[in-house]
């Protein structure tokens, strides 16, 4: 039963909303409700590429995500649920000399922040992954503590731990409106009942824009669909996670042996649909068989799409908005899976103390108004703020 009043209502039962709920409850915040319109984890949180890394290229990204990587190390024990974090390493692949130069620069930056990444030359990469097409390899950067975890398990782990600490989670319940009076949040309307509260968190993933619209706030982000494909199980041939700068794609081999990959198909416009497109399917098949010629005879077995809320600089937006008191953003996530443990902990700190932790401070929403986006040149998604060649 939904109570008529909660100290905080979190909209969205994805990994972000649940991680925040868990951290608030752990710190004995008060009464917490998580409202999810479908089943727990039905959004991007259980449709993503499961990739965990912190070896990015900018100060802001590295600081925040490395904090998260540290939390990942002990997440299973903390939540008492095995999230199956596989430490297989994370390789960013360079296919051209220009990309290799970029890797070299990034490694230098990463070292200055204390990350233990390694620059690999062509031979090293091919030794690590012999199945790669040598023509697509000029080197790369390896983060050996990177890897992947089972996305579903992470969602269930957070939900289970949060529930044990008294969080009320309401699946199959949709938020349909938010009541604001005199610039302050008063209540949340759901498909089941109305809840009075003075704090609302927008963790609605690809629907964050709609939820912000309920209080008249327009976000700088847009909803994009990302698609993935999975092949029939193959014996191990791809040990680390792999991101290819050249083809803007990311991939790994699951614990069942399936090859799992996703790519940016640049021609696709923003979309909220979860359907699969033929353009993206062909694009991915071309890219993956180019990287791994042996995959030509591997059969596509499943595919899906998921939606993310993408900002112009691909970085999240976390924290309050000026206009509405009590409305907090936890959206704009494209790397929201790896980022969840840190975002949950730090945003909970902010909500409890009113003080913004330095690791998430840069991700405030005002940065776009001020024209100060965060530039990171190691992302495998095309960012609008990048000038040179899109991706890097």
């Amino acid at each position: 039963m939904i109570k008529s009043n909660y100290d905080i209502v979190i909209i969205g039962g994805g990994v972000q909303g649940l991680a925040l709920a868990y951290n608030l409850a752990k710190n004995k915040f008060g009464s917490i409700a998580v409202i999810e319109k479908s089943y727990i984890g039905s959004g991007a949180s259980s449709r993503n590429g499961e990739m965990l890394r912190s070896a990015f290229a900018s100060n802001e990204w590295i600081q925040f995500f490395d904090k998260s990587m540290q939390l990942w190390e002990t997440l299973s024990a903390e939540l008492d649920f095995n999230v199956m974090f596989t430490h297989c390493g994370y390789l960013v692949l360079a296919s051209t000399s220009k990309e290799f130069e970029l890797c070299r620069e990034n490694v230098n930056t990463q070292h200055s922040f204390g990350l233990k990444t390694k620059l690999l030359n062509q031979r090293d990469v091919l030794k690590l992954i012999p199945a790669l097409n040598p023509e697509m390899v000029s080197g790369g950067t390896l983060q050996s503590n990177g890897g992947f975890a089972r996305h579903d398990a992470v969602v269930w782990a957070y939900a289970g731990a949060a529930k044990r600490l008294g969080v009320d989670i309401f699946p199959y319940t949709e938020v349909t409106g938010i009541q604001v009076e005199a610039g302050t949040v008063r209540s949340v309307k759901t498909s089941k009942s109305e809840i009075s509260t003075s704090l609302v968190v927008n963790a609605a993933g690809g629907h964050a824009g709609d939820v912000a619209g309920m209080v008249g706030v327009s976000l700088p982000s847009q909803t994009y669909r990302l698609e993935m494909i999975v092949t029939e199980p193959l014996k191990p041939f791809l040990h680390p996670m792999l991101a290819s700068l050249n083809t803007l794609s990311y991939m790994h081999q699951s614990t069942r042996g399936e090859f799992v990959g996703g790519a940016e198909t640049e021609t696709l416009p923003p979309a909220k649909s979860l359907k699969s497109t033929l353009v993206a399917t062909q694009d991915m098949a071309r890219k993956f068989t180019k990287l791994f010629p042996g995959l030509a005879s591997a059969r596509l077995m499943r595919q899906w799409g998921g939606i993310v809320d993408m900002t112009p600089d691909i970085a999240p937006v976390i924290g309050p908005v000026k206009k509405i008191e009590g409305f907090i953003l936890d959206c704009g996530w494209v790397y929201g899976f790896v980022g969840a443990p840190a975002a949950g902990e730090l945003l909970a700190q902010y909500i409890m103390t009113g003080k913004m932790p330095p690791e998430i401070q840069p991700f405030n929403v005002e940065r776009f108004e001020k024209g100060e986006p965060i530039i990171d040149r190691s992302l495998v998604v095309p960012s609008e703020t990048e000038t040179e060649g899109g991706a890097a």
Binding site: Y39, P233, T267, Q282, A285, T289, K290, L300, R302, Q303
Partner: protein
């Protein structure tokens, strides 16, 4: 006791399914994700009927009340090589 395999591809038994539903994974999508049913090389062709039957029985819902999900391609496993098609004129695929 001998196993009653419901999902051949992933060796999921009737007991596994019952235990999973009892543990609270009572949405068909969660049951799928927890156990891996429907996700093997046969794409659920061999286990779909039986899993749904067990799911309906264990959760006390009539089969007719279950929602038919939107399915996704591919209906058959297809070699990636045959999908790696040429690009047609007008495709703004950049190489």
């Amino acid at each position: 006791m001998s196993k009653k395999i419901v999902c051949f591809c992933h060796d999921i038994t009737e007991t596994d399914l019952i235990n999973t539903i009892e543990a609270g994974y009572d949405h068909i999508e969660m049951l799928k994700r927890f156990t891996g049913v429907f996700m093997g090389p046969c794409q659920g062709k061999m286990c779909m009927q039986n899993v749904l039957k067990i799911f309906a029985r264990e959760t006390g819902q009539p089969i007719e009340s279950l929602r038919v999900p939107t399915l996704r391609p591919p209906a058959e496993p297809i070699p990636l090589g045959s999908l790696a098609t040429e690009t047609l004129r007008g495709d703004d695929d950049k190489e």
